[in-house]
């Protein structure tokens, strides 16, 4: 049983023993969560179950086992699920858009399907979220003429429309340049003031800069949970650099300057390096196996 608790003012998202299988593969295995306001990053290698977990949290998939409470409601009931979805923003992995629409029309369409029927309010809100993601000057261009990063931001704006209390984002920074990533952080930080943001990423730097809490997943389970600083702290005294390969290291890789960085148990005489979130992540995923 995995237990993860993120304490904040009130629990917005709670799971108990949720499990999801696809045939013989257990994509999410007995996951317990309790998340409040703030930004939670889900890290893990490919195939760890991050996307499946996020799809469950976004009410797209129902767990095979376990219980789920989102915004105090049980999405297993169709009425409660609809109510949760009114207050939920979801960005799937690699979303596709209607390329003949403009960003404003796309976000407006999503707002209609979020049951916002006041057309004037909707237009204002769509324009505001497009401004927030830095597309204010492109909102009347056809989506097919926008770059991949801009299209990703249109999808993000669609998730943000209506000020959701729960935001579930599957790799939101994909295709964004460094400037856009920084802008994304501001947008998400603002959302996190009023609600819960859960995002998956492969980018540990993103997690360190943005998230108050990190979950590391491997093989469907949450193998580590805590703050980004604590994740880096896992590697305290267990990361070192040298010019040669270290057969006893759990993981080793070549760094830019040409030295080798290792995580594991350092040999006698090795001088420890300052640990990063990357080091902590590599260590906990290796130890989990």
């Amino acid at each position: 049983m995995t237990t993860t608790t993120h304490t904040a003012t009130g629990t917005l998202l709670e799971t108990a023993g949720i499990t999801k299988r696809f045939g013989s593969l257990t994509a999410v295995d007995d996951v317990d969560l309790g998340l409040g306001r703030g930004i939670v990053g889900v890290l893990g290698p490919n195939g760890a179950g991050k996307t499946t977990l996020l799809r469950i949290l976004a009410t797209v998939l129902a767990p095979d086992r376990g219980s789920l409470s989102l915004l105090g409601l049980d999405p297993a009931s169709p009425t409660a699920r609809t109510e949760v979805r009114r207050r939920l923003g979801y960005l799937p992995q690699s979303p596709r858009l209607y390329t003949g629409f403009t960003p404003l029309e796309m976000v407006d369409y999503v707002a209609i399907l979020k049951e916002h029927t006041d057309a004037a309010w909707r237009r204002r809100e769509a324009a505001a979220v497009l401004e927030a993601v830095g597309l204010g000057d492109r909102m009347h261009k056809r989506i097919r003429t926008l770059s991949g990063g801009m299209q990703q931001r249109v999808a993000l704006a669609s998730a943000l429309v209506g000020s959701p209390d729960l935001l579930v984002l599957d790799e939101p920074a994909t295709g964004l340049d460094p400037e856009q990533r920084i802008a994304l952080r501001s947008v998400l930080a603002e959302t996190a003031h009023r609600g819960c943001v859960v995002l998956s990423t492969h980018n540990t730097a993103e997690v360190a800069a943005l998230c108050q809490h990190v979950l590391v997943m491997d093989r469907g389970r949450i193998c580590w949970s805590g703050t980004p600083a604590a994740l880096a702290g896992e590697a305290e005294g267990r990361v070192w650099e040298s010019d040669v390969e270290e057969p006893t290291a759990l993981r080793s890789w070549l760094t830019g300057p040409g030295t080798r960085r290792h995580v594991g148990t350092p040999p006698a005489g090795a001088s420890p390096a300052v640990p990063t979130v990357d080091d902590g992540y590599l260590l906990v995923t290796r130890l989990a196996r």
Binding site: T59, M106, L113
Partner: protein
């Protein structure tokens, strides 16, 4: 909810690919007019029309942005119904145009509706990744089987969409309702 669907109708129509359906409709109108001009029976053209239009309507369920819209309060079933209405209305209009141009015995929208409902039922119950492809192929497959299977019980069953379209429509609709949560 109805207000939401009314407001969503126009953008849904804009998000739909119309070119294949429009091209098919043009071909069918031309073929029906030619058979009428040549004083030839148009039953086969109308049967092809039923299959082709039904396949086009079911293909209209294909939503490129489906993943982005998965977690919205307007469920996938309601969005499918909206898409069917948006694409189905012009398909019915084309059908009536063909029916009025021809003197075929195959009159009334029964076969078109039966094939469409069967295709939708297949799309509802098929694995999500191939649902629309399988659903849209079903009307064409039923038409083709009807043409190639020799007379007998199997042929009679395959031809239900022509001989008993309203029963087929009812059964397929029930299957769609049963799978509405999928």
């Amino acid at each position: 909810m109805s207000s939401v669907l009314v407001q969503a109708a126009l953008p849904t129509a804009r998000a739909t690919r119309w070119t294949p359906g429009a091209a098919l409709a043009g071909l069918l109108v031309a073929a029906t007019a030619l058979t009428g001009y040549a004083d030839r029976p148009a039953d086969l053209v109308l049967a092809i029309a039923a299959a082709g239009l039904a396949a086009t309507v079911v293909a209209g369920l294909q939503d490129p942005a489906a993943a982005l819209l998965e977690a919205l309060p307007v469920s996938v079933m309601r969005r499918r119904v909206l898409r069917l209405a948006v694409v189905g209305a012009p398909a019915l209009a084309v059908w009536w145009l063909l029916d009025s141009l021809s003197t075929a015995q195959l009159s009334g929208p029964g076969p078109l509706l039966a094939l469409t409902a069967t295709g939708v039922a297949v799309a509802v119950w098929a694995p999500p990744r191939r649902a629309v492809l399988l659903g849209a192929s079903t009307p064409v497959a039923l038409f083709t089987l009807h043409q190639v299977v020799p007379s007998g019980t199997t042929s009679d069953v395959i031809a239900w969409w022509l001989t008993d379209p309203w029963w087929v429509l009812a059964a397929a609709t029930l299957l769609c309702v049963a799978g509405r949560r999928r």
